[in-house]
Amino acid sequence: MSRRDIIKPGYMRAVDLKNGCIEMVHGSGGRAMAQLIHQLFLTAFDNEYLRKMNDQACFQSFNGRMVMSTDSHVITPLFFPGGDIGSLSVHGTINDIAMSGAKPSYLAASFILEEGFPLSDLKRIVDSMANAAHAAQVPIVTGDTKVVEKGSGDGVFITTTGIGMVPQGINISSENARPGDKILVSGTLGDHGIAIMALRENLSFHTSITSDTTALHDLVAHMITAAPDIHVLRDPTRGGVATALNEIALQSSVGMMLYENKLPIREQVHAACEFLGLDPLYIANEGKLIAICTAEDSMNLLNAMRAHPLGENAAIIGEIIPDTHCFVQMQTRFGGKRVVDWLSGEQLPRIC
């Protein structure tokens, strides 16, 4: 054994989290990688499972149905008003799990880091993830890091995976929407997407809109207590409410009728969409959900949502109708009708 191998940790030079940056060596499986994991990830995410330093987390299994979900995050810019890629990656997977009515239990996180990425930024992101996980009371119990050469990534990509437990008697699925059901949303639409677009290099405009990124499982727990027979839950992220509703319509083989005058949309989001030539129904959300339930349950559910801080602006925005073509239609404020179609391609701005 060489002298080098028996140097005590106290004699090791700390990773320079202020001025340092990611190097290929941080992904090579050697001491530099172990040091980064210890000093950054373990310190921030600290919990009994991670402390064991195994390649996997071991925990008791549940009696009952479990759900599992995974979500990759590749957002530009990494930091935005209201959040960053770190908090987003925790909320994203928690919400995907919560949309089955499940209580999220554990998260795993995998990082792909680009050579040259500032460690100070990485620390900000990791701290933000730790705060988000702590606030949601869902620990990050295992993880992985890889480093790619400069130019092969975009700073940092984060994939999170989670598992959760479905309470007894809850059966929420996108195939459960039935004609006559009501469609609810938990709050204002399009906030996240517009906050991000405002920062993009070629679109930069000033707005006070902040991302709505948040974990929705607590709201879901409240909703389930008020109306255990919720048919469908979905968080309308990429593609917005329009795309999420089209997916549900297809999965449930039903049509939908929305009422434009019931859609909760902030004036700033509405204005930004107007001058960019975009439709708020297609703009991403990261802290909102769509709920579908029977007409009888709908007022109960609406009141429960509005009583929760994350559902203050909840609204009933439409209803399920029979339609073999599975069209999502909307009664416009103007008095006409139109299709609210799937998002096709990326939303590209119009020039006129």
């Binding site: 073509h325 069209f327 008095g335 006409g336 179609d341 701005p349 119009r350 020039i351």
Partner: protein
């Protein structure tokens, strides 16, 4: 939202709809062409045809700037973008337009071409300033609305001494296109396209004014009502056209008085005249070769003309045979009359240009109005 919601009020729309219904002569049909893609989009997005009686028909015109650009010019732009070291700046709408081989700027970008989506010509100038070692070409398209900003960019590039900035100019003119439609055999002799009046352009008219339309009203005896892009503007314009026809008038009226003056924006017109001159002829998708219908950069600004610098050849490429974009742009056919509409040609996989931009007649009908076809309801869009 201020200055927007006022023009989208449902109660006012109902009042105008009631007037249209009571004043429309039930013994005849009314066919109005909205020239602009902006109007097409508003009509579909707000469901305006639901508010009209069955005998008032709207025909989508060729005023979608993306849709009328012939495939040859798109091919030119793609080849240009594939030049190593060159940055092509384009408006977002253009990126998905397919060529005859299914190529598009978006696909060229995926294959490594440096193509940047810009919101304005000023963005392209900024990119040229930030990349002095690269040639930066602005793919300029559009009617009179987008021409003055292109002229400003060329003036700015000159003032900044930018020798890496050029413009691939494809600006086209509205009045020549309207004349061309009115002179076509389909309208004049064959009567295939019944046309009783025009909803005149909104933003184009802000620049050129209302006077250029007086010629059509007089020569072709067709009323023109210039209208804003908000749905109440369109409703009001339909009512005004209907009243002109019912009283035997063929005049140019201006519904969009909050923005359009008879002479238009003289400063913008002077700027455009300083930089650009008429092309003898230009190919339009759907309309073919239209004389004096487009602009090119004057020889004294040739240093900023991409066609000169890169020796861009004139390419004439035929549209896909099954695609009816041409007939749709001339108002001869409706999107749902095209065999490949909604089957082979969809917004995800557009064959023709009308399926690409949300202002295109096919994309607007597919995205907003196709439920009417499946319900077998009477389509009122022609």
């Amino acid at each position: 939202m201020k200055y927007i919601d006022e023009f989208r009020t449902g109660t006012l729309a109902q009042k105008i709809a009631t007037k249209i219904a009571s004043e429309a002569n039930t013994q005849r049909d009314y066919h109005f062409m909205e020239f602009c893609g902006g109007h097409t989009h508003a009509i579909s997005r707000f469901g305006i045809s639901d508010l009209l009686p069955d005998n008032v028909h709207l025909i989508h015109g060729p005023g979608c700037p993306v849709c009328v650009l012939p495939i040859g010019r798109v091919e030119n732009a793609i080849r240009l973008a594939q030049t190593p070291g060159l940055i092509l700046c384009s408006y977002g709408d253009m990126l998905r337009i397919p060529t005859a081989t299914g190529m598009s700027l978006l696909k060229a970008k995926a294959q490594g071409a440096d193509i940047r989506m810009v919101y304005s010509s000023a963005d392209a100038i900024k990119i040229a300033q930030n990349n002095p070692q690269h040639q930066v070409v602005f793919f300029a398209i559009g009617f009179e609305t987008t021409t003055p900003p292109t002229a400003v960019a060329i003036k700015q590039a000159q003032a900044l001494g930018l020798n890496n900035f050029t413009v691939f100019c494809n600006h086209v003119l509205t009045p020549s296109a309207i004349s061309h439609i009115l002179q076509s055999a389909e309208v004049r002799q064959l009567g295939i396209v019944p046309l009783n009046g025009f909803i005149g352009p909104a933003h184009v008219s802000v620049v050129i004014g209302s006077q250029p339309y007086e010629y059509f009203a007089e020569e072709f005896q067709k009323p023109v009502v210039i209208a804003g892009f908000e749905p109440l503007d369109v409703m009001q314009a339909i009512l005004m056209l209907l009243r002109q026809i019912n009283t035997g008038r063929t005049e140019v009226e201006n519904e969009f008085t909050r923005a359009v003056l008879p002479k238009g924006n003289l400063k913008a017109q002077r700027l455009v005249a300083e930089i650009f001159e008429l092309r003898r002829v230009f190919e339009w998708r759907g309309l073919g070769l239209v004389p004096y219908s487009a602009l090119k950069i004057k020889s004294c600004y040739a240093g900023f003309d991409a066609e000169q610098r890169f020796q861009i050849p004139a390419l004439s490429i035929a549209d896909n045979k099954a695609c009816e974009c041409g007939a749709i742009l001339r108002g001869v056919k409706r999107p749902q009359d095209c065999k490949i509409f909604g089957t082979v040609c969809t917004p995800e996989n557009p064959i023709g240009s009308c399926m690409v931009s949300s202002e295109g007649a096919c994309a607007a009908h597919y995205s907003y109005g196709r439920f009417r076809d499946t319900n077998h309801a009477t389509s009122k869009e022609n």
